[in-house]
């Protein structure tokens, strides 16, 4: 977040408590608290594509932790804050540990279970005083200052909201932010760029948990009374509804949604009993209907509708001021070194043999083309080499060492980059951001420093590197466009630029020339020759024979999962087995 926006938020945080009438001070406090939880959920749901129906229990854990410490153990609130946030973080980490490798809906389902479990524990553990709750929680203190006035509390809450918001915005505008966006529906691509998606998902989940814990700490000292009810499943669902109603894809969806839900709920509580003549949870019914309609008609939430800024291009990324030194040359390879060696690899899907006993190798400074009719098993072989699927039999050696049981991000880290037959880009992000995803492994700075904006020099270097790779492929004029708006051929080129950002020693290209015009193909061929001269090994799957035959040093031909020929382009072209595979048996 830019400093002016943050300062404006901070200004509101200080001014609002001074001018609001007393009733609204309390209401604004609850909106602020809900916003903090909802911000975590935006990161989790809207940005990283996971979700949780159990955030209220994190709020509860921290609230009870600080209550026990300050009310019964006479500790200052700061200890309550540290312990509360630490405990929620650890619980979230453990829960993430057991679900992070499973599909997204498992986390969501399990969150329902733990939401109910924690709620039931809050209600039954004798030392938490059950549904009678615990009152007389001391107010926030800092040295001699004591926040016994709700207005001071509100100011504290709003300052925290502004800070959490700014930190989230900073995180999203960083190397890890790009990686988090890749978690949402593009995990395989992310893995291939060297992102440990399992670990990163867990980290996002912990951050969302910590935000909820922060809100829980403030809640306890704001309300100065805790009981299990505000931490039940319904409350968790409320937070999620806020995010959906506000808009889960933008951080601003959190305050908008929190405000709408908290204010409307307050109004409903006044009006519905007067209309229907009976009390009940009718506002939940109304909110639920709204959520269903929104997900059917406007899944991006109300914020984009309210602001009428649907499909705005992402803001241009400013050029770097001071870039750290970052070499763009690929890691040196010994000429003639075997970078990839596929040894008797077979891969079966049930009874279908996609690859049978395939053996070939790729050396440094060499372009090898893998060709064959559709369904010959080329893409399966690609996936085996890049670690997406394991071979049923046989071994894959990368740079001389066996690559068994390694996940794609390990393989990427060892110096292998790939593109995809079906382009995998973050269609709604800029070309530059997409290319910079490939530079993920060049960065070292973690989440906390990114949130505090201490990553600028590294970030500038990464973006600079991405720009240089883009320039090599002639993408410079397109850098600020949304990747999804480019024609398919250009999207393939973006994928190549992204792969080059990894500085690979082995480059795997899956049909790079498909959809390119002649001039673009020629340019791509020039680039690939140049990469070869720099020492890179290139393996490409391609259907365009003119392109392949003019470029490749060696051609491997596959048919029905087996290698049927291998050799120099001219040699392969006159091979009878190859002619038969492509043209049918000679009569």
């Amino acid at each position: 977040m830019k400093p002016p926006a943050w300062l404006a938020l901070l200004g509101i945080a200080v001014l609002a408590p001074l001018i609001l009438p007393t009733f609204y001070v309390t209401l604004a406090g609850y909106i602020g608290l809900a916003t903090i939880v909802a911000l975590g959920l935006v990161l989790l749901t809207g940005i990283s594509g996971q979700t949780s129906f159990g955030q209220a229990s994190f709020v509860g854990i921290a609230a009870y932790a600080t209550t026990l410490l300050t009310r019964y153990a006479d500790q200052p609130p700061i200890i309550g804050l540290i312990v509360g946030v630490l405990v929620t973080g650890i619980v979230a980490w453990l829960l993430g540990l057991i679900t992070a490798r499973l599909s997204g809906h498992f986390l969501a389902l399990v969150s329902v279970a733990w939401g109910i479990s924690f709620f039931s524990l809050f209600g039954t553990l004798p030392w938490l005083h059950g549904f009678n709750g615990i009152g007389d929680i001391p107010p926030l203190t800092l040295g001699p200052l004591s926040a016994s006035d709700q207005r001071i509390n509100l100011a504290v809450i709003l300052v925290v909201v502004a800070t959490v918001m700014a930190m989230s915005a900073n995180l999203l505008d960083s190397r890890l932010g790009r990686a988090i966006r890749a978690l949402n529906g593009a995990r395989l691509m992310g893995e291939s760029m060297g992102i440990d998606t399992v670990r990163l998902s867990r980290h996002v989940f912990v951050i969302a948990g910590i935000f909820a814990g922060l809100a829980g700490f403030l809640f306890a000292h704001f309300q100065r009374f805790v009981s299990p009810t505000p931490f039940n499943l319904g409350a968790s669902i409320d937070y999620l509804f806020m995010v959906i109603i506000g808009g889960s894809e933008s951080l601003w969806g959190a305050p908008v949604g929190a405000m709408l839900v908290v204010v409307l709920r307050d109004q409903f509580n006044d009006w519905i009993p007067r209309i229907t003549g009976r009390a009940g949870d009718f506002e939940a019914l109304v909110f639920s209907l709204v959520v269903i309609l929104l997900l059917q008609r406007a899944p991006e939430g109300l914020l984009p509708l309210l602001m009428r800024l649907k499909r705005q291009p992402p803001p241009p990324v400013l050029p770097p001021e001071t870039a750290a030194d970052l070499s763009i040359a690929p890691a040196a390879a010994t000429p003639g070194e075997e970078v990839l060696s596929v040894e008797s690899v077979s891969r079966y899907f049930g009874g279908l043999a996609a690859n049978r006993d395939v053996t070939f190798s790729v050396r440094a400074r060499e372009i090898v083309a893998l060709i064959g009719p559709n369904g010959a098993g080329k893409t399966t072989l690609f996936n085996v080499v890049s670690g997406v699927i394991a071979p049923s039999f046989g071994t894959v050696r990368l740079f001389g060492s066996i690559a068994r049981h390694r996940r794609p991000h390990h393989i990427a880290a060892s110096g292998v980059a790939r593109t995809f037959q079906h382009v995998r880009l973050l269609g709604r992000r800029s070309v530059l951001e997409n290319i910079a995803l490939g530079a993920h492994l060049s960065g070292r700075i973690g989440m906390l420093r990114a949130m505090l904006r201490l990553d600028r020099s590294e970030e500038a270097a990464l973006l600079d590197h991405a720009r240089q790779q883009a320039a090599r492929l002639g993408l410079t004029p397109l850098l600020d466009m949304r990747a999804g708006d480019l024609p398919l051929g250009q999207q393939r080129v973006v994928e190549i630029a992204r792969a080059l950002c990894l500085r690979p020693r082995l480059l795997l290209l899956d049909e790079p020339a498909a959809g390119l015009r002649l001039a673009e193909k020629q340019r791509l061929a020039v680039l690939l020759r140049q990469l070869r001269a720099e020492g890179m090994g290139v393996l490409l799957v391609e259907h365009d024979m003119d392109f392949v035959m003019g470029l490749a040093d060696r051609v491997v031909v596959m048919d029905f999962g087996q290698k049927i020929a291998e050799g120099a382009p001219e040699q392969v072209q006159s091979d009878p087995a190859v002619m038969e595979a492509y043209l049918g048996a000679a009569a």
Binding site: I98, S117, S120, P408
Partner: protein
């Protein structure tokens, strides 16, 4: 605890376990065919029980009006006159005339006839417009739907608990043990339903279409299987199973409008134990959940829920270790 109490608890646990199994099957069917995790299935269970109880006391239940309302909306959207026009009219008339008879068998059959079509209606109104969204979005719609349905349940049935007429009130002694006829009815229905589903999936065209859609949605579409029809069928089956479970368990335990969620959630636990894919594993899980809950309520009743959900942890760890890593996740 002596063996007498143990066996009584065991009988109790197996009976509820059978109910969880029914719900787990419904969940697996809807999830594998449409990718929807059908949270409100448990609420339809409560609807089934309360509708039967309401008919039995001579009232025309509010769920019938809900069915009529949903049908009108569905009629506006898809003009299927037979399903959403004629059927609700006939059913409304039938309920009107038959409810005052207060016959248990009629009440139960009418309840099944009222609650079952809510499955396809829910599919048509809530899920079909977003059928291609992510599993997560579908889950959120599902969760919201749960609140809509219990909100309506409160309007129709009030906060009171109600009991369904038992199919049989005989019981007999086996040694020291008293075995209730209703428990046997629950188990028997469960067995019949599982056998029936097995036949349906293996021997009928509709069943095979469902299996095809479950194993490959796109492929099924390409060979001409109508995804909307399979969705409606899957939800219809799930709703029927839920309603049946409701009238069965409603005779053992009195239920209130919001009791279904907990029961449904335990069906989930069972289904997750089956990895959301395997029916036999889900069956074992369901019985385990039922028995554990029953024993847990004896030893540490306050921590019953916690014990049941803690069961999930080892299962998830196991699933995690087994899970592939790089595959694309929904």
């Amino acid at each position: 605890m002596d063996s007498f109490i143990f066996f009584a608890l065991l009988q109790d646990g197996i009976t509820t376990g059978a109910i969880y199994l029914l719900l787990a099957i419904g969940l697996l069917i809807t999830f594998s065919v449409t990718r929807v995790i059908f949270v409100p299935q448990g609420d339809l269970l409560a609807f089934g029980a309360l509708t039967a109880a309401s008919l039995q006391s001579g009232h025309v239940p509010g769920t019938l009006w809900l069915l009529d309302g949903f049908s009108v909306l569905a009629l506006v959207m898809s003009r299927n006159w037979l399903a959403w026009g004629v059927y609700p009219l006939v059913l409304t008339a039938a309920a009107w005339f038959l409810a005052p008879l207060e016959q248990p068998a009629i009440s139960i059959l009418l309840a099944l006839a009222i609650v079952t079509p809510m499955g396809p209606l829910i599919w048509r109104l809530a899920f079909r417009p977003v059928a291609d969204a992510s599993v997560l979005s579908l889950l959120i719609v599902s969760m919201a739907l749960h609140f809509v349905i219990i909100g309506m349940g409160l309007v129709f049935f009030g906060p009171e608990e109600a009991r369904v007429p038992a199919i049989t009130d005989t019981s007999f002694d086996l040694g020291q043990l008293n075995i209730s006829g209703q428990s046997l009815c629950v188990l028997g229905s469960c067995v019949v339903l599982v056998a029936g589903l097995r036949w349906f999936f293996n021997a009928t065209m509709h069943g095979k279409a469902l299996r095809a859609a479950a194993s490959d949605r796109l492929g099924a579409r390409l060979v001409g299987i109508d995804a909307n029809a399979t969705g409606a069928l899957a939800f219809g089956l799930a709703a029927f199973i839920a309603a049946l479970a409701g009238v069965l368990i409603g005779a053992v335990t009195p239920l209130s409008y919001d009791a279904g969620f907990d029961i449904g959630l335990k069906g989930f636990v069972a289904a997750i134990m089956g990895g959301l894919v395997s029916y036999p594993l889900a069956a074992a899980g369901a019985v385990l959940v039922g028995v554990l809950e029953s024993l847990g309520s004896f030893w540490a009743s306050a921590y019953r829920e916690v014990i049941v959900f803690t069961l999930l942890i080892p299962v998830l760890v196991w699933l995690s270790l087994r899970a592939g890593s790089g595959e694309e996740r929904a």
